[in-house]
Amino acid sequence: MRIFDPHIHMTSRTTDDYERMAAAGVRALVEPAFWLGQPRTNTGSFTDYFDALIGWEPFRASQYGIAHHCTIALNPKEANDPRCREVLALLPRYLDKDRVVAVGETGYDSMTPEEDEVFAAHLELAREHGLPALVHTPHRDKVVGTRRSLDVVKESGIDPGLVVLDHLNEPTVAEVAGSGCWMGFSIYPDTKMSPDRMVAILREYGLERMLVNSAADWGKSDPLLTLRTGEAMLAAGFSDDDVDRVLWRNPVAFYGQSGRLDLDEADTAATFAGNSILRGGS
């Protein structure tokens, strides 16, 4: 099984995780810029973080044969802090970078006017830089937040095929499925989605535009839940090809729209392992 985790915060993870992920078949990942648990108080804190996302973290991942890409944005939570909002002016510097494959995470946290403004600005940046957008749907009041996010996407004029709404669940999937946007699901040990619930959604809605991620970060989470979802799919009667589509070809197709995915590392790792089935870059 070859796995592309389209949403995982490796900055918060140890090298043990990289090792386990590589052993589990993870060959590529995307690390979205998000908040760090501890609120930031100035723009320098963001730029050092962004530098790590395009510098140190890809290097760390490469030690395990994993191709690391990232998305860059001012996250919705910190969009509410005027000390952080100034980072908006610095985003274009990063959005041109080679390993930046989308604008994100953007979207809503508490659905404030500030978040409205920053979300719209991010979608405009995505258009300007020819990038997809990764939209975080809020943890609270998710149905309303998802609906409102779809409205903002629609108003922005961005091609819905360039947008993923993430952290979806049973109450929110139907509207996104009809919008033309991609659907992201974060599989968590307790909250968000579980592998079995994910399989049920795939059964009902099909495999098209579906992205499955671990969203593992500094909280209780598990970077191998992508693999567990693949296993649950097989146990439920999905084929190897179906699993490959959801866990590899779909994220390659979505982020590939940036024109910047570089999966050579994933290829090299697979070659080292001597297993041609694991070769990346569909």
Binding site: I54, G55, W56, P58, F59, R93, Y94, D96, K97, D98, R99, G259, R260, D262, D264
Partner: protein, 434 residues
């Protein structure tokens, strides 16, 4: 405006024509330069009309443009290469062949038909040769004009018309319907002016372009990178002429590996074109450098990216602050390029503090020359510690001293205490310093 790259079927001599067209289209070329030959649309075949119709269909299905080339070696005479030419006693056979080629070109909707003079036989004086050539060409050009086919005459090293100046002389004799086929490689082999300048001179007359690498004075068609041509400015110059026809790779001696060579060549040409455009943009707009550096890998591929970044950096005169800014906001590949192209001690120090082997290696190249000895030794020690090969350290034999030897010896003792070994090259250096 993007150039339209094509590939010459004479570089696919071991393929059936239909197969060659498949491969060339799959690789991503926009067209083919079709050399009429025994196995590839033989103009003397009894079913040539059917073959033309079939080939036209194959081209259309693959959305390939086409020019017709007439340089087959033994199509007219199995014993004498390229014979007869305009300059032989039996030149009418050459002229008949070229008329057939023009008919085929018309049938294929080809953008041009291409031909050349031939080598002057020893018994024919230069004066007579020019007269024969002018008369023959006039007949061919008139025939082509009646059929709406562009007639591109190609200067060939060693032939009667071998330079652009020779071509201009012939055009004066034949008239303005004589257009030009230019082989970019030939320009390097024998034109008095540079290749880009040759392209600018040729521009207004071009109906067909062939491309390949070459060395000065040697008429040998080489794969890109094996000759002496700096392609980015040449392709830029070609685009600036407004030429919109095919630019077809001409590697007639590479048929044995045609699919691979075709793929490599297109990758090279696209990268060279991007770099040519980027260098041109930097002349007008130096501020575009940051964006271009970031885009290099995805535009030219991973293998060529570093050289391209270094070249982009070298194309702009940067103040120390500007270089530092590019380093500050660069990803680690861009930081490496700054260290290689325009290093400063502070940037080298920053790189040496990092734990990214690529940055440390770049910092210990020529970039480290201005670093005080104490910092340089720490850098070398760190690189050994990280497992980097010492061969990448600039000036090591001259600069390595007893103090570095002491530090390496201490590292060796630590390693041995932990049951680990030192890399062989570090042990060699250590022993030399003792």
């Amino acid at each position: 405006m993007s150039l339209r790259f094509g590939y010459g079927t004479n570089g696919f001599a071991n393929h059936r024509l239909a197969d060659a067209l498949d491969v060339i289209a799959e690789v991503g070329y926009a067209g083919v330069a079709l050399t009429l030959d025994h196995a590839h649309l033989d103009p003397y075949a009894t079913d040539v009309k059917d073959q033309v119709a079939r080939t036209a269909r194959l081209l259309a299905e693959r959305e390939l443009g086409v020019v017709v080339e007439t340089g087959a070696r033994y199509l007219l005479d199995p014993r004498r290469k390229h014979a007869p030419t305009f300059l032989h006693d039996d030149a009418e056979r050459r002229i008949d062949f070229l008329k057939r080629a023009i008919d085929i070109a018309a049938g294929l909707g080809a953008e041009a038909v291409s031909f050349w003079a031939g080598v002057r036989p020893a018994h024919v004086s230069a004066e007579v040769a020019w007269q024969l050539l002018a008369e023959g060409c006039a007949e061919v050009v008139a025939y082509a004009a009646e059929r709406g086919v562009a007639a591109g005459f190609e200067p060939e090293p060693g032939m009667l018309v071998e330079t652009l100046a020779d071509w201009a002389r012939l055009r004066d004799l034949v008239g303005a319907d004589l257009k030009l086929t230019l082989d970019i490689g030939h320009c390097r082999a024998n034109e008095p002016q540079g290749v880009a300048e040759s392209v600018r001179i040729a521009g207004p007359h071009l109906v067909n372009v062939q491309i390949d690498d070459m060395r000065r004075g040697v008429h040998e068609h080489l794969e890109f990178g094996e000759g002496e041509i700096d392609f980015p400015p040449v392709l830029r110059a070609l685009a600036e002429t407004g030429y919109r026809g095919l630019v077809a790779v001409e590697l007639p001696r590479h048929s044995h590996a045609a699919p691979d060579v075709a793929a490599r060549s297109l990758t090279f040409l696209r990268a060279a074109q991007w770099l040519g455009d980027a260098l041109d943009q930097l002349e007008r707009e130096p501020a575009a450098l940051a964006t271009l550096l970031s885009a290099a890998r995805r535009k030219v591929g991973r293998a060529a990216a570093e050289d391209v970044r270094v070249r982009l950096l070298g194309a702009v005169t940067l103040s120390p602050d500007e270089a530092a800014e590019l380093y500050r906001y660069g990803d680690n590949e861009e930081k490496r390029a700054v260290l290689l192209a325009c290093p400063q001690p502070d940037l080298v120090r920053d790189a040496l503090r990092s734990n990214d082997t690529r940055l440390v290696a770049a910092a210990l190249g020529p970039a480290a020359r201005d670093l005080p000895d104490a910092e340089w030794r720490q850098g070398v020690l760190k690189s050994v510690f990280m497992g980097l090969p010492l061969s990448g350290v600039d000036g090591l034999p001259q600069r390595a001293d007893a103090e570095l030897g002491r530090m390496l010896a201490a590292l060796r003792r630590e390693r041995e205490a932990a049951g680990r070994t030192m890399p062989d090259d570090a042990v060699d250096l250590l022993e030399r310093l003792h």
